[in-house]
Amino acid sequence: MNVLEHLNQTVVYPLQVGGIDLSITNGVISMWLAVLLVTLFFLLVSRRLKPVPGKLQNVAEVLVLFLRDEVAGQIEHDREVWLPFLITLFFFILASNLIGLVPGYSSATSNINVTAALALIVFFTVQGAGLVKHGFLGYLKSFLPEGVPLPIAIFMIPIEIVSTLAKPFSLAIRLFANMFAGHAVMLMLLSLIFFFKSYLILPLPVLGNTMILAFELFVAFIQAFIFTYLSSLYIATAVEGH
């Protein structure tokens, strides 16, 4: 029995467009749900803004202020321009991570394709920002450290290209691995019941899963924060060039 089969994407509605497989899977539905939840949350919060915040407004304010000061705080100039992008990124990842904790639902971020797409969005945003800020020549010069002699420059260019590409690669892998690993451990513990077929083993999966579920709640927040924080760091490095 392969318990990890439960983490595979199941096709809910098969769809082919121009020879490309665009099937609606449970991961796609989970993403739609995340978008819907975030939209509903902010619609509810922004509909009745009060000087003394209520419960929902308080939660939103704490998170948004934290993102503005701690995450986007690394970007010295035009912070307000980047803030909506970072807030969207954070809340989408957080909602996706949290949906995965509800029994019967799958987390979109435990699929490498989703995290890779998110990392690619960040990568192209960062490169585009660097290109707009420094111009084409200035952008190309960022691949070559200052004052490097020509013989060493030949070696430095591929090294700089790999280090630039490694950033979105690590972003995608980190988020995917953390979310996937949590679900995999929970499934492994649950599978002990079917493996041993005994009531005696029951406390281990029940207690273990309760503890891991609590830890996963923490991981859901921390991974959304890390992804957004690093995106902000890469934007700051591209825009300010240090």
Partner: protein
């Protein structure tokens, strides 16, 4: 006097490990692909790992001197 650290600045160092590993894997993957294209097994992979590892250490160096 060391520069003032933001509460989340530790993350820059903490996440470096994954970035270094990612650089090595990425270099190895590009090298592996190059082996297939130019039929130069195993030199593409060897060069890819060397470039990837150097890129990883280069990222660590750049972070350290900031």
């Amino acid at each position: 006097m060391p520069p003032e650290l933001r509460p989340a600045d530790w993350l820059k160092g903490a996440t470096l490990g994954v970035e270094m590993a990612a650089a090595v894997f990425l270099g190895a993957w590009i090298g592996y692909l190059a082996d297939g294209w130019w039929r130069c097994t195993p030199w593409g992979l060897v060069l890819g790992v060397v470039v990837g590892a150097t890129a990883g250490f280069w990222m660590a160096y750049k972070l350290a001197i900031k």
